[in-house]
Protein backbone atom coordinates (compact mmCIF):
# COMPACT_ATOMS: atom_id res chain seq x y z
CA UNK A 1 0.00 0.00 0.00
CA UNK A 2 2.74 2.41 0.93
CA UNK A 3 4.29 2.00 -2.51
CA UNK A 4 1.12 2.84 -4.34
CA UNK A 5 1.01 5.97 -6.41
CA UNK A 6 -1.54 8.35 -4.88
CA UNK A 7 -3.32 8.79 -8.18
CA UNK A 8 -4.14 5.07 -8.24
CA UNK A 9 -6.48 5.33 -5.28
CA UNK A 10 -9.28 7.73 -4.83
CA UNK A 11 -8.20 10.69 -2.80
CA UNK A 12 -11.27 10.35 -0.65
CA UNK A 13 -10.18 6.83 0.24
CA UNK A 14 -6.72 8.02 1.09
CA UNK A 15 -8.02 10.80 3.27
CA UNK A 16 -10.41 8.46 5.00
CA UNK A 17 -7.69 5.98 5.87
CA UNK A 18 -4.95 8.34 6.95
CA UNK A 19 -5.54 12.04 6.37
CA UNK A 20 -2.09 13.22 7.29
CA UNK A 21 -0.28 10.70 5.14
CA UNK A 22 -2.68 11.41 2.28
CA UNK A 23 -1.95 15.06 2.73
CA UNK A 24 1.78 14.48 2.56
CA UNK A 25 1.40 12.29 -0.53
CA UNK A 26 -1.07 14.42 -2.37
CA UNK A 27 0.20 17.92 -1.72
CA UNK A 28 3.31 19.23 -3.44
CA UNK A 29 6.13 20.87 -1.51
CA UNK A 30 4.97 24.32 -2.43
CA UNK A 31 1.46 23.67 -1.33
CA UNK A 32 -0.12 23.11 -4.74
CA UNK A 33 -1.76 19.91 -5.92
CA UNK A 34 0.15 18.29 -8.77
CA UNK A 35 -1.15 16.94 -12.09
CA UNK A 36 -2.95 13.65 -11.69
CA UNK A 37 -3.47 14.13 -7.96
CA UNK A 38 -5.27 17.38 -8.62
CA UNK A 39 -7.60 15.65 -11.06
CA UNK A 40 -8.15 12.82 -8.57
CA UNK A 41 -8.97 15.27 -5.80
CA UNK A 42 -11.38 17.08 -8.08
CA UNK A 43 -13.01 13.79 -9.06
CA UNK A 44 -13.29 12.71 -5.42
CA UNK A 45 -15.03 15.93 -4.56
CA UNK A 46 -17.21 15.79 -7.63
CA UNK A 47 -15.89 18.91 -9.31
CA UNK A 48 -12.81 20.92 -10.12
CA UNK A 49 -11.06 23.12 -7.55
CA UNK A 50 -10.82 26.59 -9.03
CA UNK A 51 -8.49 27.97 -6.39
CA UNK A 52 -6.43 24.83 -5.93
CA UNK A 53 -3.18 26.65 -6.48
CA UNK A 54 -3.80 28.76 -3.41
CA UNK A 55 -4.71 25.91 -1.09
CA UNK A 56 -2.19 25.97 1.75
CA UNK A 57 -0.22 22.80 2.32
CA UNK A 58 -1.38 20.64 5.20
CA UNK A 59 -4.99 21.73 5.10
CA UNK A 60 -7.45 19.00 4.27
CA UNK A 61 -10.24 20.31 2.02
CA UNK A 62 -13.18 21.09 4.29
CA UNK A 63 -15.44 18.69 2.37
CA UNK A 64 -13.17 15.81 3.30
CA UNK A 65 -12.31 16.85 6.84
CA UNK A 66 -15.29 15.16 8.41
CA UNK A 67 -13.63 12.27 10.14
CA UNK A 68 -14.44 8.61 9.65
CA UNK A 69 -17.70 8.56 11.62
CA UNK A 70 -20.84 10.13 10.30
CA UNK A 71 -22.56 12.37 12.85
CA UNK A 72 -25.61 11.05 14.71
CA UNK A 73 -28.60 13.29 15.19
CA UNK A 74 -30.81 13.87 18.22
CA UNK A 75 -34.44 12.83 17.92
CA UNK A 76 -36.49 14.54 20.58
CA UNK A 77 -39.89 16.19 20.51
CA UNK A 78 -39.48 19.93 20.53
CA UNK A 79 -35.85 19.77 19.37
CA UNK A 80 -34.43 20.09 15.86
CA UNK A 81 -32.12 17.28 14.65
CA UNK A 82 -29.08 18.51 16.55
CA UNK A 83 -25.72 16.76 16.21
CA UNK A 84 -25.59 14.24 19.04
CA UNK A 85 -22.37 14.42 21.06
CA UNK A 86 -23.44 11.85 23.63
CA UNK A 87 -26.52 10.38 25.32
CA UNK A 88 -25.28 10.14 28.93
CA UNK A 89 -24.64 12.95 29.65
CA UNK A 90 -26.95 14.31 26.96
CA UNK A 91 -25.11 16.78 24.75
CA UNK A 92 -26.06 18.01 21.30
CA UNK A 93 -24.76 20.69 19.00
CA UNK A 94 -26.70 22.96 16.64
CA UNK A 95 -25.50 22.68 13.04
CA UNK A 96 -24.38 26.14 11.90
CA UNK A 97 -27.02 26.44 9.20
CA UNK A 98 -29.73 26.07 11.89
CA UNK A 99 -28.38 29.18 13.63
CA UNK A 100 -29.92 31.55 11.07
CA UNK A 101 -32.68 33.01 13.29
CA UNK A 102 -31.73 36.34 14.92
CA UNK A 103 -33.26 34.97 18.13
CA UNK A 104 -32.50 31.29 18.70
CA UNK A 105 -35.76 29.34 19.07
CA UNK A 106 -35.98 26.65 21.76
CA UNK A 107 -35.78 23.78 19.29
CA UNK A 108 -32.46 25.02 17.89
CA UNK A 109 -30.81 25.72 21.24
CA UNK A 110 -27.78 23.45 21.77
CA UNK A 111 -27.84 21.05 24.76
CA UNK A 112 -25.01 20.81 27.29
CA UNK A 113 -25.47 18.73 30.42
CA UNK A 114 -22.80 17.89 32.95
CA UNK A 115 -25.09 15.57 34.89
CA UNK A 116 -28.62 14.21 34.69
CA UNK A 117 -31.63 16.21 33.56
CA UNK A 118 -33.85 16.68 36.67
CA UNK A 119 -37.55 15.95 36.81
CA UNK A 120 -40.00 18.72 36.10
CA UNK A 121 -41.57 20.66 38.96
CA UNK A 122 -45.31 21.00 39.36
CA UNK A 123 -45.42 24.62 40.53
CA UNK A 124 -42.75 26.71 38.83
CA UNK A 125 -43.75 29.94 40.59
CA UNK A 126 -43.05 28.37 43.97
CA UNK A 127 -39.44 27.44 42.95
CA UNK A 128 -37.07 28.99 45.52
CA UNK A 129 -33.74 30.70 45.00
CA UNK A 130 -31.39 31.47 47.90
CA UNK A 131 -28.83 34.27 48.05
CA UNK A 132 -26.46 33.82 50.98
CA UNK A 133 -22.84 33.90 52.11
CA UNK A 134 -21.17 37.31 52.43
CA UNK A 135 -24.40 39.31 52.47
CA UNK A 136 -26.07 41.34 55.20
CA UNK A 137 -29.51 39.80 54.66
CA UNK A 138 -29.66 36.29 53.20
CA UNK A 139 -32.68 35.98 50.92
CA UNK A 140 -34.86 33.10 49.93
CA UNK A 141 -37.32 34.12 47.24
CA UNK A 142 -39.74 32.28 45.00
CA UNK A 143 -39.92 33.11 41.31
CA UNK A 144 -43.26 34.80 42.01
CA UNK A 145 -41.60 36.99 44.67
CA UNK A 146 -38.65 37.84 42.43
CA UNK A 147 -41.05 38.95 39.71
CA UNK A 148 -42.96 41.07 42.14
CA UNK A 149 -40.04 42.71 43.93
CA UNK A 150 -37.60 43.52 41.13
CA UNK A 151 -37.67 45.19 37.76
CA UNK A 152 -38.25 42.66 34.98
CA UNK A 153 -35.96 42.98 31.99
CA UNK A 154 -35.84 41.24 28.60
CA UNK A 155 -32.57 41.00 26.67
CA UNK A 156 -31.19 39.06 23.73
CA UNK A 157 -28.15 37.35 25.18
CA UNK A 158 -25.57 35.03 23.71
CA UNK A 159 -24.87 31.92 25.70
CA UNK A 160 -22.04 29.70 24.57
CA UNK A 161 -20.42 26.57 25.95
CA UNK A 162 -16.93 27.28 27.29
CA UNK A 163 -15.70 24.42 25.12
CA UNK A 164 -17.28 25.66 21.87
CA UNK A 165 -14.84 25.13 18.99
CA UNK A 166 -12.94 22.42 20.91
CA UNK A 167 -12.68 20.13 17.87
CA UNK A 168 -10.30 22.70 16.39
CA UNK A 169 -7.54 21.68 18.78
CA UNK A 170 -4.73 19.43 17.68
CA UNK A 171 -3.92 17.11 19.34
CA UNK A 172 -7.46 16.40 20.46
CA UNK A 173 -8.47 17.94 23.79
CA UNK A 174 -10.77 16.14 26.25
CA UNK A 175 -14.49 16.89 26.20
CA UNK A 176 -17.33 17.26 23.71
CA UNK A 177 -15.90 17.72 20.25
CA UNK A 178 -17.94 20.80 19.43
CA UNK A 179 -17.65 22.56 16.09
CA UNK A 180 -18.99 26.13 16.34
CA UNK A 181 -22.55 25.22 17.22
CA UNK A 182 -22.55 25.31 21.03
CA UNK A 183 -23.89 28.88 20.84
CA UNK A 184 -27.31 30.44 21.23
CA UNK A 185 -28.82 33.89 21.28
CA UNK A 186 -32.25 33.61 22.87
CA UNK A 187 -34.39 36.38 24.32
CA UNK A 188 -34.24 36.01 28.09
CA UNK A 189 -36.58 37.54 30.64
CA UNK A 190 -35.80 37.83 34.32
CA UNK A 191 -34.47 40.12 37.02
CA UNK A 192 -30.96 41.53 37.30
CA UNK A 193 -28.76 39.57 39.69
CA UNK A 194 -27.32 42.97 40.54
CA UNK A 195 -30.67 44.19 41.92
CA UNK A 196 -31.13 41.04 44.00
CA UNK A 197 -27.59 41.24 45.39
CA UNK A 198 -28.20 44.90 46.28
CA UNK A 199 -31.29 43.87 48.21
CA UNK A 200 -29.28 41.26 50.09
CA UNK A 201 -26.46 43.77 50.74
CA UNK A 202 -23.08 42.47 49.59
CA UNK A 203 -20.50 42.83 52.38
CA UNK A 204 -17.22 44.67 51.85
CA UNK A 205 -14.50 42.34 50.72
CA UNK A 206 -16.86 39.96 48.93
CA UNK A 207 -15.21 39.26 45.61
CA UNK A 208 -16.64 36.04 44.14
CA UNK A 209 -19.80 34.01 43.69
CA UNK A 210 -20.59 30.29 43.75
CA UNK A 211 -23.75 29.11 42.01
CA UNK A 212 -25.74 25.94 42.52
CA UNK A 213 -28.41 24.04 40.61
CA UNK A 214 -30.67 21.03 41.03
CA UNK A 215 -29.05 18.63 38.55
CA UNK A 216 -27.17 15.72 40.06
CA UNK A 217 -23.79 14.29 39.12
CA UNK A 218 -23.64 11.36 36.68
CA UNK A 219 -22.55 9.15 39.57
CA UNK A 220 -25.67 10.32 41.47
CA UNK A 221 -23.30 11.58 44.20
CA UNK A 222 -23.69 15.32 44.78
CA UNK A 223 -24.20 18.15 42.34
CA UNK A 224 -23.42 17.94 38.61
CA UNK A 225 -21.50 21.21 38.53
CA UNK A 226 -21.10 24.34 40.64
CA UNK A 227 -19.16 27.24 39.24
CA UNK A 228 -18.48 30.81 40.28
CA UNK A 229 -17.32 34.17 38.91
CA UNK A 230 -15.85 37.47 39.97
CA UNK A 231 -18.37 39.75 41.67
CA UNK A 232 -17.94 42.38 38.92
CA UNK A 233 -19.54 40.03 36.40
CA UNK A 234 -22.33 39.17 38.84
CA UNK A 235 -23.01 42.92 39.07
CA UNK A 236 -23.10 43.41 35.29
CA UNK A 237 -26.53 44.70 34.22
CA UNK A 238 -26.85 41.81 31.72
CA UNK A 239 -26.35 39.04 34.29
CA UNK A 240 -29.91 37.90 34.98
CA UNK A 241 -31.90 35.41 37.00
CA UNK A 242 -34.26 34.27 34.24
CA UNK A 243 -37.61 32.58 34.28
CA UNK A 244 -38.67 32.99 30.65
CA UNK A 245 -36.97 32.25 27.36
CA UNK A 246 -38.35 33.67 24.10
CA UNK A 247 -41.49 34.75 25.95
CA UNK A 248 -42.39 31.25 27.17
CA UNK A 249 -41.45 29.12 30.15
CA UNK A 250 -37.79 28.02 30.01
CA UNK A 251 -37.69 24.57 28.35
CA UNK A 252 -36.84 21.65 30.61
CA UNK A 253 -33.63 20.95 28.69
CA UNK A 254 -32.45 24.49 29.29
CA UNK A 255 -32.92 24.86 33.02
CA UNK A 256 -36.63 25.22 33.88
CA UNK A 257 -38.00 26.89 35.88
CA UNK A 258 -35.13 29.30 36.61
CA UNK A 259 -31.74 29.79 35.10
CA UNK A 260 -28.92 32.19 35.76
CA UNK A 261 -27.75 33.81 32.52
CA UNK A 262 -24.17 35.11 32.46
CA UNK A 263 -23.78 36.20 28.83
CA UNK A 264 -20.44 36.20 27.05
CA UNK A 265 -18.72 33.99 29.67
CA UNK A 266 -18.51 30.19 29.63
CA UNK A 267 -22.06 28.77 29.59
CA UNK A 268 -21.37 26.63 32.66
CA UNK A 269 -21.69 29.82 34.73
CA UNK A 270 -25.28 30.14 33.52
CA UNK A 271 -26.46 27.61 36.08
CA UNK A 272 -29.48 25.61 34.93
CA UNK A 273 -32.22 24.57 37.39
CA UNK A 274 -30.80 27.43 39.46
CA UNK A 275 -31.33 27.18 43.24
CA UNK A 276 -28.69 29.17 45.10
CA UNK A 277 -25.94 31.75 44.79
CA UNK A 278 -23.31 32.19 47.50
CA UNK A 279 -21.31 35.40 47.81
CA UNK A 280 -17.73 34.57 48.78
CA UNK A 281 -14.55 36.34 49.79
CA UNK A 282 -12.34 33.82 48.02
CA UNK A 283 -12.72 31.93 44.71
CA UNK A 284 -15.40 29.25 44.72
CA UNK A 285 -14.22 25.64 44.97
CA UNK A 286 -17.24 23.81 43.53
CA UNK A 287 -17.08 21.03 40.96
CA UNK A 288 -15.83 22.54 37.72
CA UNK A 289 -13.51 25.04 39.41
CA UNK A 290 -9.71 24.83 39.58
CA UNK A 291 -7.20 22.61 37.82
CA UNK A 292 -7.73 22.49 34.07
CA UNK A 293 -11.53 22.97 34.21
CA UNK A 294 -12.71 26.09 32.41
CA UNK A 295 -9.14 27.38 32.76
CA UNK A 296 -6.59 28.42 30.16
CA UNK A 297 -2.78 28.84 30.21
CA UNK A 298 -1.26 32.28 30.66
CA UNK A 299 2.11 31.06 29.44
CA UNK A 300 1.41 28.85 26.38
CA UNK A 301 2.14 25.16 26.91
CA UNK A 302 3.31 22.52 24.44
CA UNK A 303 0.21 21.08 22.74
CA UNK A 304 -0.44 17.60 24.10
CA UNK A 305 1.76 18.02 27.17
CA UNK A 306 0.78 17.08 30.72
CA UNK A 307 -0.27 19.95 32.97
CA UNK A 308 -2.32 20.20 36.16
CA UNK A 309 -3.47 23.74 35.39
CA UNK A 310 -2.21 25.16 38.70
CA UNK A 311 -0.93 28.30 36.97
CA UNK A 312 -3.78 28.59 34.46
CA UNK A 313 -6.43 31.30 34.89
CA UNK A 314 -10.22 31.00 34.81
CA UNK A 315 -11.69 31.54 31.37
CA UNK A 316 -13.84 34.68 31.49
CA UNK A 317 -15.02 36.61 28.42
CA UNK A 318 -15.26 34.19 25.45
CA UNK A 319 -13.17 34.86 22.34
CA UNK A 320 -14.49 36.27 19.05
CA UNK A 321 -16.23 33.76 16.79
CA UNK A 322 -18.58 33.61 13.79
CA UNK A 323 -20.99 31.20 12.13
CA UNK A 324 -22.19 31.08 8.53
CA UNK A 325 -25.90 30.27 8.69
CA UNK A 326 -27.28 30.87 5.21
CA UNK A 327 -25.73 27.80 3.56
CA UNK A 328 -25.05 24.39 5.04
CA UNK A 329 -21.61 22.84 4.77
CA UNK A 330 -21.85 20.70 1.63
CA UNK A 331 -24.43 22.83 -0.21
CA UNK A 332 -24.63 22.14 -3.96
CA UNK A 333 -25.66 25.01 -6.22
CA UNK A 334 -26.75 25.04 -9.88
CA UNK A 335 -24.10 25.26 -12.60
CA UNK A 336 -23.52 28.84 -13.63
CA UNK A 337 -24.07 30.34 -10.17
CA UNK A 338 -21.71 33.31 -10.17
CA UNK A 339 -22.59 35.11 -6.98
CA UNK A 340 -24.07 34.23 -3.65
CA UNK A 341 -25.65 36.24 -0.84
CA UNK A 342 -24.38 34.85 2.42
CA UNK A 343 -25.00 35.70 6.05
CA UNK A 344 -24.38 34.55 9.58
CA UNK A 345 -23.77 35.79 13.11
CA UNK A 346 -20.69 36.89 15.00
CA UNK A 347 -20.03 37.65 18.68
CA UNK A 348 -17.15 38.27 21.04
CA UNK A 349 -17.92 37.60 24.72
CA UNK A 350 -18.18 40.90 26.59
CA UNK A 351 -16.90 42.78 23.55
CA UNK A 352 -18.59 43.41 20.22
CA UNK A 353 -17.64 42.48 16.68
CA UNK A 354 -16.06 45.14 14.51
CA UNK A 355 -15.55 43.24 11.23
CA UNK A 356 -16.30 40.03 9.44
CA UNK A 357 -14.21 39.08 6.41
CA UNK A 358 -14.79 36.28 3.95
CA UNK A 359 -12.42 34.51 1.58
CA UNK A 360 -13.27 32.15 -1.28
CA UNK A 361 -9.65 31.57 -2.38
CA UNK A 362 -8.23 29.81 0.69
CA UNK A 363 -7.30 32.99 2.49
CA UNK A 364 -5.40 34.66 -0.31
CA UNK A 365 -7.78 37.59 -0.45
CA UNK A 366 -10.42 38.72 2.00
CA UNK A 367 -13.59 40.72 1.48
CA UNK A 368 -15.35 42.78 4.17
CA UNK A 369 -18.96 41.89 4.98
CA UNK A 370 -21.57 44.24 6.45
CA UNK A 371 -21.87 43.81 10.22
CA UNK A 372 -24.99 45.11 12.01
CA UNK A 373 -24.88 46.62 15.50
CA UNK A 374 -26.15 44.27 18.22
CA UNK A 375 -29.76 44.96 19.34
CA UNK A 376 -28.38 45.19 22.89
CA UNK A 377 -25.03 44.57 24.58
CA UNK A 378 -24.14 40.84 24.75
CA UNK A 379 -26.35 39.95 21.77
CA UNK A 380 -24.76 38.44 18.68
CA UNK A 381 -24.54 40.47 15.49
CA UNK A 382 -25.80 39.73 11.99
CA UNK A 383 -23.25 39.80 9.18
CA UNK A 384 -24.03 39.55 5.48
CA UNK A 385 -22.66 40.21 2.02
CA UNK A 386 -22.35 38.98 -1.53
CA UNK A 387 -19.49 36.86 -2.82
CA UNK A 388 -18.46 36.29 -6.43
CA UNK A 389 -17.76 32.79 -7.76
CA UNK A 390 -15.72 33.00 -10.96
CA UNK A 391 -16.50 29.50 -12.25
CA UNK A 392 -18.26 26.25 -11.47
CA UNK A 393 -16.46 23.87 -9.13
CA UNK A 394 -15.53 23.36 -5.50
CA UNK A 395 -15.21 26.33 -3.19
CA UNK A 396 -14.68 26.89 0.48
CA UNK A 397 -16.10 29.95 2.14
CA UNK A 398 -13.77 30.97 4.93
CA UNK A 399 -15.19 33.48 7.42
CA UNK A 400 -13.36 35.38 10.10
CA UNK A 401 -14.59 37.89 12.69
CA UNK A 402 -12.59 40.63 14.41
CA UNK A 403 -13.55 41.93 17.87
CA UNK A 404 -13.80 45.55 18.99
CA UNK A 405 -10.21 45.37 20.28
CA UNK A 406 -8.95 44.34 16.84
CA UNK A 407 -8.29 40.68 17.67
CA UNK A 408 -9.34 38.33 14.90
CA UNK A 409 -10.07 34.63 14.74
CA UNK A 410 -6.75 32.83 14.14
CA UNK A 411 -6.04 30.41 11.29
CA UNK A 412 -5.66 27.50 13.71
CA UNK A 413 -6.80 27.01 17.32
CA UNK A 414 -4.40 28.78 19.65
CA UNK A 415 -3.30 28.27 23.26
CA UNK A 416 -3.86 24.50 23.49
CA UNK A 417 -4.97 23.24 26.91
CA UNK A 418 -5.88 19.74 28.14
CA UNK A 419 -9.64 20.28 28.36
CA UNK A 420 -9.82 22.37 25.23
CA UNK A 421 -11.13 25.87 25.98
CA UNK A 422 -10.97 28.91 23.75
CA UNK A 423 -10.48 27.37 20.29
CA UNK A 424 -11.85 29.91 17.80
CA UNK A 425 -10.10 29.27 14.51
CA UNK A 426 -11.44 30.55 11.19
CA UNK A 427 -14.24 28.30 9.95
CA UNK A 428 -14.75 26.86 6.49
CA UNK A 429 -17.90 25.83 4.65
CA UNK A 430 -17.57 23.75 1.48
CA UNK A 431 -19.90 24.43 -1.46
CA UNK A 432 -20.06 22.87 -4.90
CA UNK A 433 -21.29 24.67 -7.99
CA UNK A 434 -22.57 22.55 -10.84
Amino acid sequence: MAHQNPSERSVQELYRDDPERADALVWGRRGALQGAALAAMGAALGGSIPFARNMPSGLVPAALAQGANQPQFLQMEGKAPLILQGERPLNAETPEHLLDDPVTPADKFFIRNNGSVPDTVADARAWKIRIDGEVNTPLELTIAELEQRFEIVTRKLQMECGGNGRSGFSPQAAGNQWGNGAISNAEWTGVRLHDVLRAAGVKDGAKFTGQHGADSHLSAQGPAISRGMRIEKAMDEDTLICFRMNGAAIPQMHGAPARLVVPGWPGSLSQKWFTRLEVLNKPHTGRGMGGTSYRIPVRPIVPGSRNNGADFVDMESMPVRSVLSSHAHGTRLPAGTRSLDIRGHAWAGDLSVRDVHVSTDFGQSWQAMQVAAPPNRHAWQRWQGRIALPSDGYYEIWYRATDSNGRMQPHVAANWNPQGYGANPISRVAILIG
Binding site: E20, R21, D23, G86, A174, H217, P251, R287
Partner: protein
Protein backbone atom coordinates in the same frame (compact mmCIF):
# COMPACT_ATOMS: atom_id res chain seq x y z
CA UNK B 1 -52.45 44.66 4.83
CA UNK B 2 -55.78 42.89 5.26
CA UNK B 3 -53.84 39.89 6.41
CA UNK B 4 -52.45 41.69 9.42
CA UNK B 5 -55.27 41.30 11.95
CA UNK B 6 -55.62 37.69 10.91
CA UNK B 7 -51.88 37.13 11.40
CA UNK B 8 -52.11 38.70 14.84
CA UNK B 9 -54.87 36.29 15.82
CA UNK B 10 -52.83 33.33 14.59
CA UNK B 11 -49.81 34.54 16.53
CA UNK B 12 -51.90 34.88 19.67
CA UNK B 13 -53.43 31.45 19.21
CA UNK B 14 -50.01 29.90 18.62
CA UNK B 15 -48.54 31.70 21.59
CA UNK B 16 -51.25 30.53 23.95
CA UNK B 17 -51.05 27.01 22.54
CA UNK B 18 -47.30 26.97 23.20
CA UNK B 19 -47.72 28.12 26.75
CA UNK B 20 -50.56 25.69 27.38
CA UNK B 21 -48.47 22.79 26.08
CA UNK B 22 -45.30 23.68 27.89
CA UNK B 23 -45.77 21.61 31.05
CA UNK B 24 -46.56 18.48 29.01
CA UNK B 25 -43.72 19.03 26.60
CA UNK B 26 -41.33 19.66 29.51
CA UNK B 27 -42.40 16.38 31.06
CA UNK B 28 -42.00 14.50 27.79
CA UNK B 29 -38.56 16.02 27.20
CA UNK B 30 -37.42 15.06 30.69
CA UNK B 31 -38.63 11.51 30.03
CA UNK B 32 -36.94 11.45 26.61
CA UNK B 33 -33.66 12.56 28.18
CA UNK B 34 -33.97 9.84 30.84
CA UNK B 35 -34.70 7.24 28.15
CA UNK B 36 -31.63 8.30 26.19
CA UNK B 37 -29.50 8.05 29.34
CA UNK B 38 -30.86 4.58 30.08
CA UNK B 39 -30.37 3.28 26.56
CA UNK B 40 -28.37 0.07 26.94
CA UNK B 41 -25.17 -0.38 25.00
CA UNK B 42 -23.54 -3.62 23.93
CA UNK B 43 -19.92 -4.17 24.83
CA UNK B 44 -19.24 -4.62 21.11
CA UNK B 45 -19.66 -0.89 20.46
CA UNK B 46 -16.10 -0.71 21.74
CA UNK B 47 -13.20 -1.94 19.59
CA UNK B 48 -12.39 -5.62 20.02
CA UNK B 49 -9.28 -6.40 22.05
CA UNK B 50 -7.81 -7.41 25.37
CA UNK B 51 -9.22 -5.30 28.16
CA UNK B 52 -12.50 -4.46 26.43
CA UNK B 53 -14.78 -6.07 28.98
CA UNK B 54 -12.86 -4.46 31.85
CA UNK B 55 -13.24 -1.05 30.21
CA UNK B 56 -16.89 -1.59 29.38
CA UNK B 57 -17.65 -2.76 32.90
CA UNK B 58 -15.72 -0.07 34.73
CA UNK B 59 -16.24 2.92 32.52
CA UNK B 60 -19.98 2.95 31.86
CA UNK B 61 -21.13 3.41 35.45
CA UNK B 62 -21.46 7.16 35.05
CA UNK B 63 -21.52 7.89 31.33
CA UNK B 64 -21.90 5.87 28.16
CA UNK B 65 -19.12 4.90 25.76
CA UNK B 66 -19.70 7.87 23.42
CA UNK B 67 -17.14 9.80 25.47
CA UNK B 68 -14.57 7.05 24.98
CA UNK B 69 -15.33 6.37 21.33
CA UNK B 70 -14.91 9.99 20.32
CA UNK B 71 -11.53 10.23 22.04
CA UNK B 72 -8.09 9.91 20.46
CA UNK B 73 -5.50 10.30 23.21
CA UNK B 74 -1.95 9.15 23.84
CA UNK B 75 -1.34 6.66 26.64
CA UNK B 76 -0.11 9.48 28.83
CA UNK B 77 -3.27 11.53 28.30
CA UNK B 78 -5.47 8.50 29.03
CA UNK B 79 -3.49 7.86 32.18
CA UNK B 80 -3.93 11.48 33.24
CA UNK B 81 -7.70 11.27 32.58
CA UNK B 82 -7.96 8.30 34.98
CA UNK B 83 -6.66 10.56 37.78
CA UNK B 84 -8.94 13.39 36.69
CA UNK B 85 -12.01 11.13 36.83
CA UNK B 86 -11.00 9.90 40.28
CA UNK B 87 -10.16 13.33 41.70
CA UNK B 88 -12.94 15.40 40.17
CA UNK B 89 -15.70 12.91 39.53
CA UNK B 90 -15.50 10.37 42.31
CA UNK B 91 -14.39 7.39 40.22
CA UNK B 92 -12.82 4.62 42.30
CA UNK B 93 -9.09 5.18 41.74
CA UNK B 94 -7.54 2.70 39.32
CA UNK B 95 -4.33 1.02 40.41
CA UNK B 96 -1.74 -1.60 39.51
CA UNK B 97 -2.31 -4.19 36.83
CA UNK B 98 -5.97 -3.38 36.44
CA UNK B 99 -5.08 0.22 35.64
CA UNK B 100 -2.53 -0.96 33.07
CA UNK B 101 -5.08 -3.24 31.41
CA UNK B 102 -7.53 -0.38 31.06
CA UNK B 103 -5.07 2.30 30.00
CA UNK B 104 -3.30 -0.03 27.56
CA UNK B 105 -6.62 -0.93 25.95
CA UNK B 106 -7.64 2.73 25.63
CA UNK B 107 -4.28 3.81 24.22
CA UNK B 108 -4.20 0.93 21.75
CA UNK B 109 -7.72 1.34 20.41
CA UNK B 110 -8.44 5.01 21.04
CA UNK B 111 -5.04 6.50 20.45
CA UNK B 112 -4.11 9.54 18.36
CA UNK B 113 -5.26 9.06 14.77
CA UNK B 114 -1.83 9.69 13.31
CA UNK B 115 1.36 11.45 14.28
CA UNK B 116 1.76 12.91 10.79
CA UNK B 117 4.66 12.83 8.36
CA UNK B 118 6.89 14.87 10.68
CA UNK B 119 6.41 12.52 13.61
CA UNK B 120 4.25 14.69 15.83
CA UNK B 121 5.30 17.59 18.00
CA UNK B 122 9.10 17.95 18.25
CA UNK B 123 8.81 19.09 21.86
CA UNK B 124 7.14 15.90 23.07
CA UNK B 125 9.18 12.86 24.10
Amino acid sequence: MRLLPYAAVVVLLCASATIAQTPDLAQRQAEAAAALAERQEEETVLAEGEGRSEVFGYCTACHNTALIRRSAFTRERWDELMDWMAEKHGMNPLEGEFRDTIVDYLARHYGPLTRGPRGGNPFLN
